[in-house]
Point group: C2
Chain length 138, copies 2
DNA sequence: TATTGTTATACTCTATAACTATA
DNA sequence: TATAGTTATAGAGTATAACAATA
């Protein structure tokens, strides 16, 4: 009966995620904004439509999110050179710094806890991480 | 260098949690409301102040959440017998059903994926789950 | 005419400040 | 006076509908 494992895993994953997400570089930054910054930093510049698709929000909603990020100087918004209807959003240097700081802080939360484990426990987590990654990608 | 493991684990946990959280019994139910229902179903009836502490929201915010749940018939709100200032919130039968259905749906997401793994992989996840649970509780 | 983005408007969730009722 | 809850009001984030600009 693997249903019990599924139940336990789900609970633990949700709880851990809540703890990790609470660790931000800047508490004034919402999840939605931070998610866009991470996306741009990882995948490079994108159009507004592409961002709203990826984040699964409507274009007006993403437009508002971008407005806030532009006002904060964390992203830039420029017209596409070849298609005047499109705008290209990219992360600024300040945005990159915020992404880097947030990533460090979140990594640190995990790392400080992992350092207290035994080598065998860390090895188990390494193996499990690979399996969980495959589950998430399905 | 266990920092790389921390980084990978964090990414995977956040991604998995996003997938699992999307699996609700009722799409009209917000995370905040659902979280209160789960709390009441797990821990039993509580005062409004206790709920707002646990969920880390302000009392007025929790009050509004509870108003919505009462209107939907998912929780009950009654005055405390011994202290007239307090109100006791409890989950109703309908609320319990919603909790059960959501739990089943979320468990199913994991279970269907776990069933495709090898026995060795499931065993790794079982061991990892226990370790991760300890990390979350720290 | 279709596509891309924006503006107008409204709803939900959260917050702070002020108020009521009870201890 | 202090505590528990509520009401009043405002801000952030999201949605749908309507609009503007470009292909």
């Amino acid at each position: 009966m693997s249903n019990e494992l599924g139940h336990q895993l789900r609970q633990t994953i949700l709880r851990l995620a809540r703890r990790v997400r609470a660790e931000r570089a800047d508490d004034a930054m919402s999840d939605g904004k931070l998610s866009v910054l991470f996306m741009l930093a990882n995948e490079g510049a994108q159009t507004l439509g592409s961002l709203s698709d990826h984040e699964r929000v409507t274009p007006p909603s993403m437009n508002r999110t971008i407005n806030g990020l532009v006002e904060s100087g964390l992203v830039t918004r420029v017209s596409d050179a070849t298609d005047g209807r499109k705008v290209v959003i990219d992360v600024s240097d300040a945005g990159r710094r915020l992404v880097r700081d947030t990533r460090r802080k979140r990594d640190a939360w995990f790392s400080s806890r992992l350092s207290k484990l035994t080598n065998a426990e860390r090895e188990t987590l390494e193996n499990a991480e690979e399996i969980l990654r495959r589950l998430a990608d399905q």
